[in-house]
């Protein structure tokens, strides 16, 4: 009897062990699949192969592992292209627009979640509907509206566009605020706190995850957007490109010299470093934010 029980426990244990082993195998395979393309970009940025003519081979090649590695591509990227300028431009745009957008998003979300007023529901409905229109057509309109403000083709125009859209992106944050119990606010109100004070002193300190989540997304946006930025900056203003626009033109121009792929890859790595670092260090908050906000 006892023996049987031991046996059962043993077989249970061993079956658990096999199941763990299988899980590890699956995970490893998946990790390889997931890292394969990312590693490919990294290897390409380091590839410094020369052809028989002594020229740096900058085109795409079919082999995965480079035959020679070095930092020549990075040197060219920083010394011979406008990349450093683009990098600073993007940093400028995203630093300012993430502050404005975060404030906008959070304040709208708070108001929509915790305050009751007349136009609240219609605003909610309109916001849902507006977000659904494909934006490409309105890009031309936005361009000329910015032009009326005398802002077109400047970095400030980009900041304005990125920040202005933030008012509609309040859903996740609203979901987060919805979870904070109203009783907290009610008792504060009894103590004589104004709505603005409750927002600053009660809601915000409780909302670190969602603040970081919102700020993170707003900060990353300008690094990734190559569609809007292209229209607003205009192709001829190479000085005001963001990294996404600059790298896009490097690879997708029509009559372009395609011997620059490895340099493009080097640019990608430089762009990815800050974003990935930020993302990974803030991962915990990101998860909390996205979980709390999006599954309500």
């Amino acid at each position: 009897m006892i023996k049987a029980k031991q046996l059962k426990a043993k077989s249970y244990k061993s079956s658990q062990r096999t199941s763990l082993t299988i899980s590890y195998i699956i995970l490893t395979i998946l990790v390889i699949v997931w890292l394969y393309p990312i590693l490919w970009i990294l290897l390409n940025s380091l590839r410094t192969e020369y052809n028989t003519g002594g020229q740096l081979i900058g085109i795409v090649v079919s082999h995965y592992f480079p035959k020679q590695i070095g930092f020549e591509n990075f040197r060219i990227l920083f010394a011979e292209t406008l990349f450093p300028r683009w990098f600073l431009n993007t940093l400028f745009v995203s630093s300012i627009s993430f502050i404005i957008s975060t404030m906008l998003t959070l304040s709208v979300a708070y108001v929509m979640s915790k305050l009751k007023f007349k136009v609240r529901k219609s605003f909610l409905n309109i916001a849902i509907i507006l977000g659904l229109f494909p934006g490409f057509m309105s890009m031309i309109a936005i361009y000329y509206i910015l032009k009326a403000f005398q802002l077109t083709q400047t970095l400030w125009a980009l900041i304005l566009v990125y920040s202005a859209g933030a008012g509609l992106g309040f859903y996740i944050a609203k979901g987060f605020f919805d979870i904070i119990p109203n009783s907290l606010l009610e008792s504060a109100k009894l103590d004589g706190a104004t709505n603005s004070q409750s927002f600053r002193k009660i809601i915000l300190p409780l909302s670190k995850p969602i603040i970081i989540y919102t700020a993170l997304l707003a900060f990353i946006g300008p690094w990734m957007d190559f569609i809007f930025a292209r229209v607003i900056i205009g192709e001829a203003n190479t000085d005001t490109y963001t990294v996404a626009v600059g790298l896009y033109y490097m690879m997708y121009g029509e009559q372009i010299d395609s011997n620059v792929f490895t340099i493009f890859a080097a640019g990608c790595i430089i762009v990815a470093i800050p974003i990935v670092t930020l993302f990974l260090s803030m991962q915990k908050y990101y998860v909390e934010g996205v979980t709390a906000g999006s599954v309500k």
Binding site: L104, Y144, A244
Partner: protein, 477 residues
């Protein structure tokens, strides 16, 4: 019985439809009545406010408020009368006439042509400004009337300081929403209205703005979907069909894959959970124009994957996975798989978060009832996840209908359908992009945008009406 229900439903919809009109009619009538009453009952200041905004406030010694109102009126009138020009197109009263004519000067080699596109846009902006001005005009009179009432009641009219304090408390939503609404009206609402109007014009590649005048054409562009042998009538059906198929598979594969991955990583006994998770999160953090380009090159005919398969003697000739694929479905299936690579980490993160939040007491109760781990998983964990993430499915379905990057960067819509712009893997949005940005067929593009909108809006409305959060909000009524 069924029949009865149907007619009941129909009647219900019809009556709702009319009740909207009745509601609007009533509210306009009420507003007008109030307007008249205020003029009749108001003090001399309020009466003056009907002509000089802010006069009533100044009459009640609310100087700052009064001056602000007056400046707005002056600014508005100055803008309308002076009609400043942007790209030689006026913005002001003139733009209202221009909105209807869309330009009259055809131009010549030495004379500029009226820019119909800007005239349409500025017309829309002008109507927007007038609309907002009317709202402010109303509120200036209201504000003065309120001061009248305060004085009548023996109180003092509110001071500027008090107004500001109200903005931080009772009217906090006003202070907070104002900047957001300015942004939304300027950069979303007005451009969207402009875009809708384009669908009713002949603004296309043969009518470039500023070189050739274009004009209103009514519903012609919409009829083009159903008639003729043009691009839009031939390709609309197939593109729409694939868009829906894509949205369905992209959503479901990511959802199932994400939950699977989350369960795998969070499994009891798996070590270094955080590191596993971090590796997958890399794909979210990497800009898509980088990761998708990498994917495209890796899967190319002479790329690393094909060379590896050939070296392993699994295949003899390279497989064409993407834009040059022999069959549309090869490319489509590849795209859906790559989309798993892109999207699964996101669902995984979310599900991981939820897994940590499964109420502990559920498990405890189950344990007391003698449930095994497996049973607890089967009857508690899974239903909990499904229950909590259901709304997410809807949002991501809609997101996938309008997903642009994956298709545009991987195949550019290819494999091509000879003779047409929309390729085998083009979604409505990428087709729209090609038509407008590459081909300058703005009117057709706008029609497609409206169609896309109708589809996504229907899906959204249907789902939100059923969702829990909607019912809690009980909005839309």
């Amino acid at each position: 019985m069924n029949n009865n229900q149907d007619t009941y439903k129909k009647r219900n919809i019809l009556s709702r439809f009319f009740s909207i009109f009745i509601y609007f009619g009533k509210s306009i009538y009420n507003k007008f009545k109030k307007f008249i009453n205020r003029f009749k009952d108001g003090s001399i200041g309020t009466k003056l406010s009907h002509i000089f905004m802010g006069a009533g406030n100044i009459y009640h010694k609310q100087y700052i408020k009064g001056v602000i109102f007056f400046i707005i009126e002056a600014g508005f009138l100055a803008l309308m009368i002076l009609s400043p020009q942007v790209n030689s197109t006026p913005l002001g009263f003139k733009s209202i006439a221009n909105f209807f004519t869309l330009g009259t000067e055809p131009g010549s080699i030495f004379l500029p042509t009226d820019n119909s596109m800007l005239m349409l846009l500025f017309g829309v902006i002008c109507f927007g400004i007038i609309g907002m001005f009317i709202a402010v005009y109303g509120s200036s009179i209201k504000s003065s009337y309120k001061a009248d009432l305060d004085v009548k009641a023996g109180k003092e009219a509110t001071s500027f300081k008090e107004d500001i304090q109200a903005l931080l408390d009772d009217r906090f939503h006003v202070a907070m929403l104002t900047p957001a609404i300015i942004g939304i009206i300027t950069f979303t609402v007005l451009p969207t209205i402009f875009m809708i109007f384009i669908a009713f014009t002949n603004f296309d590649s043969l009518h470039p703005a500023g070189q050739v005048l274009f004009d209103w054409v009514g519903f012609d562009n919409f009829f083009a979907i159903f008639n003729g042998t043009g691009e839009i009538s031939v390709r609309f059906g197939p593109v729409l069909g694939w868009t829906l198929v894509w949205a369905f598979f992209a959503t479901s594969t990511n959802y199932i894959g994400g939950i699977f991955l989350a369960l795998l990583i969070n499994k009891k006994g798996i070590k270094l959970k955080k590191i596993w998770r971090t590796i997958f999160v890399l794909t979210i953090a990497l800009p898509q124009f980088i990761s998708l380009l990498a994917m495209r090159s890796i899967l190319a005919e002479y790329g690393p994957i094909n060379s590896m398969l050939i070296n392993l003697h699994l295949i003899d000739d390279p497989i064409k996975f993407l834009a040059t694929a022999d069959s549309a479905w090869t490319a489509r299936i590849t795209i859906i798989f790559i989309n798993i690579w892109i999207g699964v980490p996101y669902t995984m993160l979310m599900t991981s978060g939820i897994l940590m939040n499964v109420p502990k007491d559920l498990y405890e109760a189950a344990q007391i009832d003698g449930a095994t781990n497996r049973q607890a998983f089967r009857y508690i964990t899974v239903p909990f996840i499904l229950f909590v993430t259901a709304p997410f499915l809807i949002t991501s379905f809609i997101g996938n209908i309008t997903s642009f990057n994956v298709i545009y960067l991987l195949t550019g819509g290819g494999p091509t359908v000879p003779g047409y712009i929309a390729g085998e893997t083009d979604l409505l949005v990428t087709w729209l992009y090609k038509l407008t940005i590459d081909q300058s067929e703005y009117n057709i593009g706008s029609v497609i945008a409206i169609m896309t909108f109708i589809i996504t809006a229907t899906a959204t409305l249907l789902s939100y009406r059923r969702s829990k959060s909607y019912k809690e909000e009980d909005a839309f009524q």
